[in-house]
């Protein structure tokens, strides 16, 4: 004779009003000793249990059950009615599939987050870049009215545009008479960079500051010459001599 305990899954027998008549050892261990099957069912699944665990529905039902440890998990219940008695096999939902779905979901979220993080990093980099550009044309006071601007990096239009307002404002606010621009640490000079640089120098002289350029490398000469910068400013080959003059 087949008893409930020989079943490969937790099983029980119940009456039509869901009273447990007999339960297998496995079932009792999982869900405890209860009079009614509804005691094993999560509160929110009880309505569904009452509706579908009846004789009219001779098929499987998914319900959330609560184990004796208080854990809610999803079970598929297979029911077979024999007169007034229903035999129920309880099969826990395929945990493998649930885990797979969960991890696929987590991977997808992680991708989304890394995308998001890339955007945030890009914004941070943009802020840093602006800061670097500012620092690449720092205005250093030699005396209250004489400033030195050592330029770093490539002299391009972005560098000049990012800094010209700040430099001009400082010249005006601090009534600078003389400005020495040191190009020693400049790498490449671009054509539109020179054009904008030339405009900046013009604006500086309009504000009454004499401009001196130093530290020019041989490869910069043709470009600076092209834009007729030579006519607007004074060039010196040694910063040291000029500094001595200013300091003395």
């Amino acid at each position: 004779m087949i008893t409930l305990d020989t079943m490969p899954l937790p099983a029980f027998k119940m009456s039509q009003d869901l009273i447990i008549l007999e339960a297998s050892e496995d079932a009792r261990q999982l869900f405890g000793h209860s009079a009614s099957f509804l005691d094993w069912v999560d509160r929110e699944s009880r309505g569904k249990a009452q509706k579908f665990m009846t004789k009219q529905y001779d098929e499987k039902v998914e319900l959330n059950l609560v184990t004796t440890d208080g854990i809610i998990s999803s079970y598929i219940l297979h029911i077979k009615w024999d007169g007034e008695e229903g035999t129920v096999l309880m099969q826990q939902q395929d945990q493998m599939m649930m885990k797979l779905m969960q991890s696929v979901n987590e991977h997808r979220r992680r991708l989304e987050e890394s995308d998001m993080e890339l955007i945030l990093k890009k914004n941070e980099l943009e802020v840093s870049l602006t800061r670097i550009q500012e620092l690449s044309t720092a205005v250093i006071h030699l005396t209250p009215h004489v400033v030195l601007i050592p330029m770093f990096g490539d002299l391009n239009i972005e560098l000049i545009l990012a800094n010209k307002d700040r430099i001009l404002k400082q010249l005006y606010d601090e009534q600078i008479d003389e400005m020495i621009i040191d190009l020693q640490s400049v790498g490449k000079i671009t054509e539109d960079g020179v054009e904008e640089f030339s405009l900046l120098l013009k604006n500086c002289s309009l504000l009454g500051a004499t401009c001196t350029i130093t530290g020019i490398k041989p490869e910069h000469v043709p470009q600076l010459h092209q834009k007729d910068i030579a006519g607007k400013v004074m060039f010196i080959n040694s910063l040291k001599d000029t500094l001595t003059r200013i300091v003395s």
Partner: protein, 220 residues
């Protein structure tokens, strides 16, 4: 049920990401707001999916597929619609932190809310599903939010909400708390004894809309 909801429900159950996305795009092109799309298209579709499970018409696996598809559609909405929309906007309305209470895995709703807060100009941190109260506390100590929103769906998780409220209120006297989620439909969990000036119960989308409007008025 509106036709759009029925169609959207079907697409979710089929796991048809493309169909879901093109329906959302149609809504966007027709000028519908994020609130409208989330409250009147996606939410009713997910509610319908819950009902179909209760009626034994679909399985948990179907429900999972639908959830993942909805989740994907929301992420895509965020990246393709929401983020470009708020790109040049100042996020200076305040800081808002969102999470689901411990063991609560249903986080679609709170994620919708988090996105809506972002669109309204808040800086948002979304902590997702299943956040033990200690984590919520330490996160809030470090990040100093102005608003914290918590969500619960299942009754057993909803029962944890009062203790979250109490601990967060004690620790952060100036933080406004919002509580939402499906557990609120159960009258025995109605949270009647919470101080109204500190905690707002958000029963539905309209509830949130009026909370946001009254907060704006207060600021003015």
């Amino acid at each position: 049920m509106e036709l759009s909801t029925a169609k959207f429900t079907e697409a979710l159950l089929n796991g048809d990401q493309d169909a879901c996305w093109s329906m959302v795009q149609e809504c966007v092109n027709a000028g519908q707001t994020t609130e409208h799309i989330y409250y009147h298209v996606m939410t009713p579709a997910m509610v319908e999916i819950g009902r179909l499970w209760q009626e034994n018409e679909i399985s948990v696996a179907d429900e999972h597929l639908a959830t993942t598809t909805c989740d994907f559609t929301m992420s895509r909405y965020k990246h393709e619609v929401l983020l470009p929309r708020i790109q040049d906007q100042r996020q200076d309305e305040g800081r808002a932190l969102f999470f689901c209470v411990e063991q609560e895995e249903h986080d679609l709703g709170i994620r919708m809310i988090a996105q809506i807060f972002e669109e309204k100009g808040y800086l948002v941190r979304m902590m997702g599903a299943n956040l033990p109260v200690e984590y919520a506390l330490s996160m809030a100590v470090n990040w100093e939010p102005d608003v914290m929103g918590m969500s619960a769906s299942m009754i057993s998780q909803g029962e944890k909400v009062p203790s979250y409220i109490q601990r967060l209120m004690e620790r952060f006297p100036n933080v406004e708390l919002l509580v939402g989620g499906r557990f609120l439909i159960h009258p025995e969990l109605a949270l009647q004894n919470v101080p109204e000036n500190r905690v707002t119960i958000i029963k539905d989308g309209e509830g949130l809309t009026s909370w946001l409007a009254s907060r704006n008025r207060k600021e003015e």
